[in-house]
């Protein structure tokens, strides 16, 4: 393809910028302080000479304008949701409403100390309560903790709840079953909750192999950890049988709620047999991904798990005021200091309030519609490993392109030239050469049509000029990064020129 065939992007001049340390020179500073209104002190005396620090070697010395330009320039090398479609499957890169940023910064909210006495923090407590109530209705569960800081943190929390419950029943059991399509955090979290993991295969429809599950679901199994819809975007349509099977053998059904964006107002995990699930507020509920967090991973449970929730929980006092309750003898304890990623919770609540029941259902419909439209548009060009109907995302594979030596990672890089943020590469692991695409509801038909066009073009390029794809990206300020080199002799920090050799 020639440059002109790329409809969505061109190239434009972009500023270079070294490391902040390379801008430093002695005596510059970007911040000053008010004069001290108490007597100055002799630090060496107060701290003891042995405790005194003289200087922070290598620390930057730059002015305010240099800080501003430095980070402004860096920002322009990034691609965000505000830039365009951000196709990472499983990540639900939807639009982050601007009003959420405003409310999270309100005075009284942004500057509230976590140890404020309850009487001075009723607003924060009511936000926590309101969010809990909304989320419980959305997922159809009975109780909830907002403490976990992200999805994986929620997974660990949820499994600790499972374990605490089973322990209280007399036997924590030993294993957690995890479908082979699951995200890597699932087994890692299970391990942290003290469980061994066992992988369950998928059938030819891309859903849990029921027979295998039946065999594996022994009485040493604490829980099945299911993602639903799963990472192929397919709803586990045998969910009733699965739940029945797990429950009948004394196990619990854990659901990874990463893909809840497919279900809002349509289907509730609590209604299809789930005992415990975590949500990703930074996915389904629009809180910004921040370049890799912060997120929030609340965990919702059925009533019987409620006594085990982390402390503290928000309770209503007789006078109608809210307070934290710490005295919960069966609790698994804390998974995080204070009360969770509050600023993220504020944004999620703002999003839910803005949408309301109708809006949430509508956005799920749009998310699924977008994904299906995309699937339809790409079916001819890319191999679809599973024919089952999909919801919010779809997973292709690079089988056809691989014949020409072009792999999913190459297609992703070439997609950058076409003005998109690529999809998730090589996940789920059960699809070799996966292209996992989740457009979310935030993409317009225009943007999707451009995407289909781009991926169609790349499919042609893979045949007609594979080198173009293999060498991509061509239009970025740096070429393909040498990741092998980075890992072989890791350079993980800057050092002053003299020391750099060390």
């Amino acid at each position: 393809m020639s440059e002109q065939d790329i409809k969505k992007a061109r190239r434009h001049v972009s500023q270079n910028e070294g490391l902040i340390f390379e801008r430093s020179s002695p005596g510059k500073a970007g911040a000053e302080l008010p004069p001290l209104d108490v007597p100055a002190v002799a630090a060496a005396e107060l701290l003891g000479a042995q405790n005194l620090r003289t200087a922070i070697d290598g620390f930057p010395e730059v002015s305010e304008v240099e800080v501003v330009r430095h980070f402004t320039r860096l920002s322009t090398w990034n691609y965000g949701v505000d830039t365009g479609a951000y196709l990472l499957g499983s990540c639900t890169m939807k639009y982050n409403p601007k009003i959420n940023e405003v409310v999270a910064r309100l005075e009284g909210i942004a500057n509230a100390h976590p140890y404020l006495p309850a009487s001075l923090a009723q607003g924060c407590l009511r936000i926590l309560k309101a969010l809990s109530d909304c989320l419980l209705e959305i997922v159809g569960m009975d109780a909830l903790t907002l403490q976990p800081a992200a999805g994986a943190h929620g997974e660990m929390t949820g499994l600790l709840l499972v374990r605490a419950y089973l322990e209280a029943q007399g036997n924590p059991r030993r294993k957690v079953l995890i479908p082979d399509s699951a995200h890597g955090t699932n087994p890692a979290s299970a391990y942290m909750a003290g469980y061994q993991t066992q992988s369950i295969g998928s059938n030819e429809r891309g859903t849990v192999d029921l027979a295998q599950l039946d065999r594996a679901m022994k009485d040493d199994v604490a829980a099945l950890m299911l993602t639903n819809p799963n990472t192929l975007g397919i709803f586990e349509d045998q969910i009733a049988q699965i739940a029945e099977l797990v429950h009948s053998r004394g196990g619990l059904l854990y659901m990874d709620g990463a893909n809840l964006n497919a279900l809002l107002g349509v289907s509730r995990p609590g209604d299809f047999g789930v005992d415990v699930l975590h949500l990703n507020l930074h996915k389904t509920f629009s809180t910004p991904h921040g370049g890799g967090g912060p997120g929030a991973g609340p965990v919702a449970v059925k009533q019987f798990l409620e006594p085990f929730l982390p402390v503290p929980v928000v309770v209503e006092r007789a006078d109608g005021s809210l307070a934290f309750e710490f005295d919960r003898p069966q609790s698994i304890g804390r998974v995080r200091a204070f009360c969770g990623n509050f600023g993220v919770l504020v944004r999620a609540l703002a999003y839910i309030l803005a949408n309301g029941a109708e809006g949430l259902r509508q956005l799920t419909e749009d998310a699924v519609l977008n994904s299906r439209y995309l699937r339809k548009g790409l079916e001819g060009a890319y191999e679809l490993p599973y024919a089952s109907p999909t919801l919010h995302e779809c997973v292709f594979c690079d089988k056809r392109q691989a014949r020409y030596g072009v792999r999913t990672g190459d297609i992703a890089k070439r997609l950058i030239d076409y003005g998109f943020h690529p999809y998730t590469v090589s996940f789920p692991l059960i699809v070799p050469g996966a292209l996992m695409i989740e457009p979310t509801e935030s993409e317009s038909k225009q943007e999707l049509d451009l995407l289909i066009d781009a991926l169609q073009c790349i499919a042609r390029e893979a045949i007609e000029e594979p080198e173009t794809v293999l060498q991509a990206p061509h239009r970025t300020r740096v070429g393909r990064m040498d990741e092998v080199q980075a890992a072989r002799k890791p350079i993980l920090r800057w050092k002053p020129p003299g020391e750099a050799a060390s």
Partner: protein
Amino acid sequence: MRYLPKSPEERRDMLRAIGCDSIEQLFSSIPLEARLGRPLRLEPGKSEPEVLAYFRERAAENARDYTCFLGAGAYDHFCPAVVDALISRSEFYTAYTPYQPEISQGTLQAVFEYQTLICQLTGMDVANASLYDGSSALPEAVMMAVRATGRRRAAVARSVHPEYREVLATYLRHQEIKITELPFAESGQLVPEALAAAASDDLAAVVIQSPNFFGVIEEVAAAAEVAHAAGALLIVMVAEPLALGIVRPPLEADIVAGEAQSLGVPLSFGGPYVGFLAAREKYVRSMPGRLVGQTTDAAGERGFCLTLATREQHIRREKATSNICTNQALCALMVTIFLSTYGKQGLRELALQNLAKSHYAAARFRERGARLRFSGPFFNEMVVRGVGGGAGAAEKLQAHKIVGGLELGRFYPELAGDVLVCVTETASRGKIDELVRIYTGP
């Protein structure tokens, strides 16, 4: 709905294009009995002015315009306006983990700078891209020590933040890692004899915090000596990293971890904050969390990418060094900008002002007959003996628009009635005087 970029007609067109008759048909793969046959019981969607009004009402129910003497792991410092202006660049905050380095060099270079700054601040060789918060950084550090030593016991000072220790207990409960608690002395520091007694050859790590929960600076070198002699690692936790602007970094430690909220992240009722973890080079492959490394492209241009991913869950699954995936990147960016802006001199001065203010407060307390619980050197927090407990003081403080210190009885029954008072540069002399006056009675 204002967030959705579709007209009714476009929806119809798209449905037609995929051969669907109705929206409901999109969900046909969900068994009927798993579907919700009714609308969600939520309020109708709110317009933006209503959303704003809702949160303004909530904000008004909280303390506003108070001078706050709470610290205890969450600190209020002057944060330059550039921090919020720059993290509000949507290319930063609406991006995700930099899986595609060619369009993520902004995040990647910033994280590389963050890693460097944390190393410089702590005196360590390597630092990761962030953890959830200070409390979860503690179990991550201990598990790292367990991996590095093959031993399964940690000796943890009781003067480590109580909530951090609660989190540690939760994480370790099912991992067969034992915890031995180490008491504190009159100085507020670790009792050396207790440490010596705990230092047996099954010990993976000694954990202290400095400044500790009482604001007291620990004797790191001494602790390191004992730990190392026993073949254990020394983990130093830091909940108030601003101290490192003036306090000697824990160079003898093997792992320095903690909470960086203090460096530019809003209090925000406890989160999002940002856990950091730094260590000696040799432990890099047992570190949890993301790492950004320097590399080049084919043309030899410098660039950055995620690296050493083989430690991580998406590759190693249950054998990963941690389950962490999404971390606290944006908060780490706040810290990076905050530290870059204050810089070498500024951070030192900021730390010095904290030192001066807290010692001014201490002097005022002493003048008015109150005593500090501990004799060890402190940074910007101190435990004042016996001034808490009364509801009277709390009410008076509120009347003066002051939020007092933290009553310690909740965490340390033996310190009931004592108050942990934090005095940062944001407290004016006048407010400090008021605080002392109210606490020390008429």
